[in-house]
Amino acid sequence: MARSNNLHSVAAIFDTPNKIIKAAEKVRDEGYNKFDVNTPYPLHGMDKAMGLSSSKVGFVTLFCGLFGGSFILLFMWWTLAKNYQLFIGGKPFFALPAFIPITFEITVLIGAVSTFIALIAVFFKLPFNNHPLHDTDYMKTVSVDKYGIYITTEDPKFDKEKIISLFKSLGAVSTDLIYLPKQEKFSMFNLKFVLFLIFVAAGTSGSTYLLLNKLMYITPFDWMEFQEKYTPQETSLFFGDRRSMRTPVDGTVAKGFIPYPYKGIANPTEVLSNPTIPTEDLLKMGKKKYLTFCSPCHGNFAEGDSRLNGQFPNGPTLHSDKIIKYSDGMLYHIITNGQNAMPAYDLQITRHERWAIVDYIRVLQRAKNAKNSDLVEIKKESTTNGQ
């Protein structure tokens, strides 16, 4: 690494742990406070020798860990107990015992990762990603078998000559001047950098593609992906018409389906007779189905007052003499078969429901043509009920 002329620190190398501890004590006693010690392994008693107070990084761990734990707990509550409730093993939606292991793990994970990041941030002084001591002979020695100490120029008592003689008097094997690395100008459009970006982009997308589309389907793990079957709309190489979706054999009847004998006949000479007995439940059901399927065109009371505002030919009134005179079977036939512009409803409405609609139309017709005698009857009923 290219070095500038700006001094970063004065460093010294010692060859025994005892000497480095003595050196640290001495440097501390001399009143220096911007110094640090580098050893290949942790030395017991070094904290005290350097006069370090206990590290504050524990608070980062504590807060980030607590944040991670409470976040994940809230997250599980929201996903599993609030937003999309899932029944798992008959347990309550907010199943605390099952959440504890995850909470614990996220607490540890976030705590550990944030400690690591915080240490890097403090040590490298982010956004810098390199410490001035990196790539120096000093660092290479003290990370193998020697013990080093350095005092930086930031120290108010910094004086190059004095420090060197101090280190020498403490028995340093060698002393070293460490210069700051040269500030390199960094440009986004530097060719090297652009090439690097392209290389990274190609590398990640290529390896992702390989992983997801090739590696994951190598045998023997492809038996779920590649099954011996046709997927919908696939061409068949076996059948002459190339259709893998086959039509049923002629005359096939779906399970539970009873064919309508007068299907497709416009004016049948004979029709079915009504098999239902109009009970209250049946009429209620008929009303419901009528309102759903018929009322948009024929109106809520079958008076031909369509709600479709002319987007479809208005359904005629069902209170005409013609319809009143029609047999139940004929009404059933019109619903089942359709009539001119009126579509067939045999696929949407079951047989039973169609008969219920017919019964309900009869109710509407009777209500429209109520007689005076009906009123009397109701009066009688209400007076008897009132007593």
């Binding site: 017991h44 008693g45 524990g58 093993g89 347990k91 015992p97 099952a98 504890i100 292991p101």
Partner: protein
């Protein structure tokens, strides 16, 4: 490498300590005996709880000694003698277990032949759970523990005179044999004495649970005594906060371990939701037991965890003393909670009894008395242990 100049001066505890131990023991034993004569079926449960309290501290301490040897730990060398002293009641357990073995019929449903004859599951279990095999198992395990206690402690004491380093090597070998043996034997003991109280219940984590509890209490006893001796000036002057920090950390670790095991046992049973397992926890959630259960979660885990979490609190001797006595109390409550609700198996209905206190007093009395006796006779510090000097010089 004789090390006469370790700086340790032998002192004797005030004579009242031994007397306190003896008096506690006598009061506890006499009142306990009285209780046993009038209500043997209730007394055995109290006896069993206190027996386990004594057992877990004693065997747990022997385990700490063994771990120290096996791991060649240095910081704990000055503390080792105290664990050895605490383990000195292991041979006594062989005598103390006799009353329990004589009253098996009051403790265990599986010892009633008429009940077993009508119960298919108990019949199947009777291959393992029958009085002769049970007694043999218990005695053999106690003998093994006593043997290892005798061998390890003898070597350690001999070294005080001879300073022979080969003794340390011997003890390392012994410890490496003892640790796995301890794991198996403590599991067996806990299954035999505590799990089989509820004959049809089973949990594969039970042995580990008691191991965690025993180690916690052995460490707590060690911490309490060492802090006390340090404060009163009996301990070595070179013992610093750094030593207590390590001791506190170890205690903290085992508190976490206990919490982890206790929760794992609960969660597996809760998740599986099988009636043959869940009922054990249901019993401990009925009536007042609910509060005991909650108290154990807080007292045995959350309180010590929060207290020992920060760095300064582990070096604060007052806090350490408080939390270690707290953990000891919680361990007793934990054992109480394990044993007492299973009393119904013999048709008894649980209610608090003064006998619980008398037997506890007796076992605490034994610990104090034995510790004092050992203190009089032997050095508080293994003066010629080759690791001692490094242990004394220990710094964080």
């Amino acid at each position: 490498m004789a090390n006469n100049d370790s700086g340790y001066i032998k002192k004797v505890l005030p004579s009242k300590i031994g007397k306190i131990g003896l008096i506690l023991f006598i009061i506890g034993a006499v009142t306990g005996l009285y209780g046993y004569i009038f209500d043997p079926s209730r007394a055995v449960f109290s006896y069993l709880t206190s027996f386990w309290f004594l057992l877990s501290i004693a065997v747990g301490s022997l385990l700490l000694v063994a771990i120290e040897y096996a791991a060649s730990a240095t910081w704990s060398t000055p503390f080792r003698r105290m664990s050895e002293f605490l383990a000195s009641s292991i041979p006594l357990l062989i005598i103390l277990v006799i009353p329990l073995l004589l009253s098996i019929q009051y403790l265990f449903v599986w010892s009633h032949t008429d009940v077993v004859a009508n119960d298919h599951m108990l019949q199947a279990k009777s291959v393992f759970l029958n009085t002769p095999f049970f007694s043999v198992r218990v005695i053999v395990i106690l003998l093994i523990w006593s043997l290892f206690y005798y061998l390890i402690i003898r070597n350690s004491r001999q070294q005080d005179n001879s300073g022979d380093q080969a003794l340390t090597k011997n003890n390392i070998k012994l410890s490496i044999i003892f640790i796995p043996l301890f794991a198996i034997s403590l599991t067996l003991q806990s299954i035999d004495w505590i799990m089989s109280l509820e004959t049809k219940w089973f949990s594969t984590m039970f042995g580990v649970y008691l191991f965690a509890g025993a180690t916690c209490s052995a460490l707590a006893a060690l911490a309490f005594i060492s802090v006390l001796l340090k404060e009163k000036g009996y301990f070595h002057p070179k013992i610093t906060k750094d030593h207590f920090y390590s001791l506190g950390t170890l205690m903290f670790v085992f508190i976490c371990f206990w919490g982890y095991i206790a929760f794992s046992q609960y969660m597996l049973i809760w998740y599986g939701n099988l009636p043959e397992e869940t009922f054990w926890f249901m019993q401990r959630w009925e009536g007042g037991w609910k509060f005991v259960s909650l108290f154990i979660i807080f007292g045995h885990f959350i309180v010590p965890f929060a207290t020992l979490l920060s760095h300064p609190s582990k070096t604060n001797l007052k806090k350490l003393k408080f939390i270690s006595i707290w953990i000891l109390a919680m361990h007793f409550i934990d054992l109480y909670w394990l044993i007492m609700p299973s009393m119904h198996g013999n048709g008894l209905h649980y209610s608090f009894s003064w006998m619980d206190i008398s037997f506890l007093a007796a076992s605490v009395g034994i610990i104090i008395f034995m510790f004092n006796k050992m203190f009089e006779r032997y050095n508080l510090i293994p003066v010629k242990d080759p690791k001692l000097q490094r242990g004394l010089d220990f710094h964080l």
